[in-house]
């Protein structure tokens, strides 16, 4: 037994020692914990950890296999995302005890705070006294046992799993119902209680999902697809798009879902031009070797940075929205071009990890597929707050794409229309977020950059929060970003254009004098090297491409990504459709596209008179439209418009 004294050692070092004890198989006793946060996070070995006192937020979070005992109370997020292993708390637990657990056994002798077991997937959360508001909120599986009273709205929006209540059920949450309990279930509960020496005499009420909200009542009828160029045409009213929209809504009686990005004309980087005439760009055959493009992202606070051969990344896109083959092709291409790939929502498959040399692992509110093991093999961790295509909404994956394999990785029931939570259970403000960021750093030993993916909304405030909460970089996503599935109204009408997003973000950082304390990766409808250079001139540190890499790999832009029957085998989980996609070939296509981006960046940078992309600046740009000039405060120079076609011929 190793004794660790938190009165003498900061939590960060204590956690390093606890993990080292784990590797040696030695048990640990933590004294003077004084309710400090993050005790034991990231531990993945089967040892006993005894906390002699109270623990703070995220005690035993992001762990696997260890057995924790806490003599008194714990704060929010007890056992966050815990796989196997157990926690026994002798006192009370704060809000969201057992959040997102994946198999752990958690026992709280006292009361539990609000939203216990939120988005849990498997395992048992047991409270020997009373639970508070919304126990089992949005749970996907597993079992909650409450020996006392349930609190209000028990089982609110639960998808699966069971809640057993020994005391009063005050009232049921939305889409929850009481059902009969069988004797085998009771025996199993009693065996569990015996194992943890919890006496109980009485009967249980069983709360389960009522099944009224798991699937849309009517599925969307598949229509003849409209080509994207018609879809975004200039016929203003009552065009075929509007007709189709009205017709479909007359059938389904709700909002529509589609894939791809916004189709409205918005001010964008294409409304900017280079101040210098770059018509001669590209004359130099060796330009790629002459311009410095190597960029490190994420290292400013001491983490191991992502090493990018050019200031470009792959934007987050999930395995789920995209087929495994497509994720493999994108990953391989990212490795071939020396840039970073991103998992998007829904977990990390072995295939993705093998294909991409540098892989950012994204964490969303539903914690679908989130776990300590994949965190440890990632090259960066990313907290998703929202995305440009649909700020404020969670991901959507229609039942057709939720295969048994995907359901397993994500830890959800197979065959539901998955509407991921739009909020994180443990991030309700900047004050909670800072503790969450710290948890990730603690769990992975401060090795990995931690970024925030942010759809442009209240950018000025959000960016300030991001820098104050200590993120290493922001993936800032504008309204022109695409999605695998979103409400069509939201895609077209909600959000802030990418151009406005970067300007507001930089203004906010300037206002508080913190520009050097965070890096910005801009995305959202950026298409090629020309767009990339403009973004760098405006002040981004790097850019990310999503849609253009998918197009490079064969996407025909039919916008039916959500349906699951993608004819190119990209946005599908149907093996018959996926057969049409050849990852090795498409990886080469995507790689060649990325190399064209590299060449464009180099050629324009050189034509603007620089030998390093870091020298690009605002003075290299002018605005072609009054709107773009207003947004960017660049000089309005409409006559430059005539130069734009020439540039496109020469470069591209």
């Amino acid at each position: 037994m190793v004794q660790i004294d938190l009165a003498k050692l900061p939590v960060r070092q204590a956690n390093e020692q606890i993990r080292a004890c784990g590797e040696r198989g030695e048990d640990v006793e933590v004294i003077n914990p004084d309710a400090r946060h993050h005790i034991g996070v990231g531990l993945v070995h089967e040892i006993d950890v005894h906390v002699r006192g109270s623990a703070g937020y995220f005690c035993a979070g992001l762990t696997d296999a260890a057995r924790f005992t806490v003599d008194r109370n714990v704060g929010w997020g007890l056992g966050d995302n815990m796989y196997k292993g157990s926690v026994v708390v002798k006192g009370n637990a704060g809000a969201i005890a057992g959040v997102a657990i994946r198999g752990a056994e958690i026992v709280v002798h006292g009361n539990m705070g609000s939203r216990a077991g939120q988005v849990m997937k498997a395992g048992t959360l047991c409270c020997a006294s009373n639970a508070n508001f919304m126990a089992g909120y949005m749970m996907y599986g597993g079992r909650i046992i409450i020996l006392g009273d349930s609190g209000e709205h028990v089982g609110e929006d639960m998808t699966a799993g069971e809640i057993f209540v020994g005391g009063n059920v005050h009232n049921l949450g939305s889409d929850a119902m009481l059902t009969d309990i069988d004797s085998a279930e009771v025996d199993d509960i009693m065996a569990f209680l015996d194992r943890y020496q919890l006496p109980f005499k009485g009967t249980f009420k069983k709360v389960v999902n009522a099944g009224k909200k798991l699937r849309y009542a009517t599925s969307e009828r598949q229509m003849r697809s409209i080509p994207f160029f018609t879809f975004s045409g200039n016929l203003d009213y009552w065009n075929p798009k509007i007709q189709e929209d009205v017709f479909i809504k007359s059938q389904i009686g709700r909002y529509r879902i589609r894939g791809y990005g916004g189709a409205r004309a918005l001010p964008h980087v294409s409304d900017l031009a280079f101040r210098k005439d770059v018509a001669r760009a590209g004359g130099d055959q060796d330009v790629v070797g002459k311009v410095k493009m190597y960029t490190e992202i994420g290292g400013i606070n001491g983490a191991r940075p992502l090493k990018l051969s050019m200031p470009v990344m792959i934007a987050p896109m999930s395995y789920g929205a995209l087929s495994a083959s497509t994720k493999r092709a994108v990953g391989l291409a990212s490795s071939l071009s020396g840039i970073a790939e991103n998992t998007g929502e829904g977990g990390m498959s072995n295939a993705q990890r093998d294909a991409a040399k540098q892989l950012i692992f994204q964490c969303l509110g539903g914690r679908l597929g989130w776990n300590i093991h994949d965190m440890n093999r990632a090259d960066g961790l990313e907290i998703y707050i929202s995305q440009g295509a649909k700020p404020g909404l969670g991901g959507q994956l229609m039942a057709k794409k939720v295969t048994p394999e995907l359901a397993r990785i994500r830890g959800i029931p197979h065959g539901i229309d998955l509407r991921s939570p739009s909020r994180h259970p443990d991030i309700l403000g900047a004050d909670d977020l800072v503790i969450k960021v710290e948890e990730f750093r603690e769990a992975t030993g401060y090795r990995l950059p931690v970024s925030v993916k942010m759809g442009a909304g209240r950018i000025r405030d959000d960016v300030k929060i991001a820098v104050k909460d200590g993120f290493d970089f922001i993936e800032l996503d504008g309204m022109q970003g695409s999605t695998g599935a979103g409400s069509s109204e939201v895609i077209d009408y909600v959000g802030i254009p990418t151009l406005a997003a970067i300007i507001e973000a930089l203004d906010a950082l300037k206002e508080i004098g913190r520009r050097d304390d965070i890096e910005i990766v801009l995305m959202g409808g950026l298409r090629d090297g020309i767009d990339a250079v403009k973004a760098l001139c405006l002040g981004a540190d790097a850019v990310a491409f999503g849609t253009s890499t998918i197009i490079a790999g064969g996407c025909i832009a039919c916008m039916q990504c959500h349906v699951g029957q993608c004819v190119t085998g990209i946005a599908t989980q149907d093996p018959e459709h996926e057969k049409r996609y050849h990852p090795e070939i498409e990886a080469q296509n995507i790689h060649r596209f990325l190399e064209s981006v590299r060449w464009q960046i180099a050629a324009i940078t050189q034509a603007l008179g620089y030998d390093d992309v870091r020298k690009l600046n605002r003075d290299d740009l002018v605005a072609l439209t009054p709107e773009a000039a207003t947004i960017t405060r660049l000089p309005y120079e409409p006559e430059y418009r005539h130069r734009a076609p020439e540039l496109n011929v020469k470069v591209g």
Partner: protein
């Protein structure tokens, strides 16, 4: 975007080390708000005496502002007993016996008022708990009870006047600290403005202070004012309020913001996180309680 703390000593002295206690508690949760720190401290109250604190920034012409303050004090017949400059504050004790709301608004029109009270003093500035203590000697403060706050600024700038606690302008000895966001802010504010209340900032926490003070001035008990606040205010909140002899809390119905409390024979302490409570009792496992959503309570020194 913050952390809150409150403490009340139960004994009948007015010389408890409230300053030191709140500094420790706020240092314990400084991670929740690194931008600014503030204290509402209650000490010995004297009959007909008011203590006023004004903010005099570095750019201001100190003597000119103090001149304006003195002019307005004289106009209201307030006799200066002592005055000094501490940190970025001009602190003055006066003898006054008139209409406080009119007096307070007039003072606010000539300078930036931090607090006015017979026993309350608010100290707030940019930086952490220890930074503010160094500038204002908070650790020397002895009294009966107090509130504290650490802030991460988003909507408003990092300025001392946007820091918490908020004084309920025009109402003697009422202060609040708040963690959360009031979403029907403008609706509530307009309602109060129509009835003649003035707001100094656009911070939603000031609204809570004015809302509660308005109720108290109408003779509503603090308990009942807290009860209606849960109905009337929309959004996410955990807040603490203090008056000359009470502290109280209210928590929204969604339980979106944390709050935890500890009580023993000597004191009551409330904070955003248990780690702050443990700062008062290092090495001890505390028997704490988390207030349920949609609840409120008060503690009074007279009981």
């Amino acid at each position: 975007m913050c952390g809150i703390a409150g403490i009340m000593f139960k004994g009948d002295r007015d010389t408890y080390e409230t300053g030191k206690a709140l500094i420790s508690m706020l240092d314990g949760c400084q991670h929740r708000g690194p931008d600014s720190t503030g204290f509402a401290l209650y000490g010995h109250a004297s009959e007909r005496r008011l203590r006023l604190r004004f903010l005099i920034g570095e750019r201001d012409d100190e003597s000119e502002i103090i001149g304006r303050i003195k002019g307005m004090l004289a106009k209201h017949g307030a006799r200066i007993i002592e005055d000094e400059i501490v940190g970025a504050n001009y602190r003055v004790t006066v003898e006054f016996d008139g209409d406080l709301q009119k007096f307070a608004y007039d003072m606010e029109h000539v300078a930036r008022v931090v607090s006015i009270g017979s026993s309350l003093e608010i100290i707030k500035d940019v930086g952490g708990a220890h930074d503010v203590d160094e500038r204002y000697h908070v650790h020397d403060f002895r009294g009966t009870h107090g509130l504290g706050h650490v802030r991460l600024a988003t909507e408003s700038d990092v300025k001392p006047e946007a820091a918490h606690p908020f004084w309920a302008t025009g109402f003697e000895d009422v202060a609040i600290v708040h963690n959360g966001q009031i979403t029907n802010y403008w609706k509530m504010r307009r309602r109060l403005e129509q009835r003649g209340f003035e707001f100094i900032t656009d911070n939603d926490s000031e609204l809570i202070a004015v809302y509660l003070a308005d109720k108290l001035a109408k003779g509503v008990s603090l308990q009942d004012a807290l009860k209606t606040s849960i109905e009337d205010l929309d959004g996410t909140f955990s807040f603490l309020v203090s008056t000359k002899d009470e502290i109280g809390y209210a928590k929204d119905r969604l339980a979106a913001k944390p709050m935890i409390m500890y009580e023993n024979d000597d004191l009551i302490a409330v904070a955003s996180e248990e780690v702050s409570l443990n700062r008062l009792f290092p090495g001890q496992a505390l028997d704490t309680k988390e207030p349920p959503p949609g609840t409120y309570a008060t503690w009074s020194r007279s009981i």
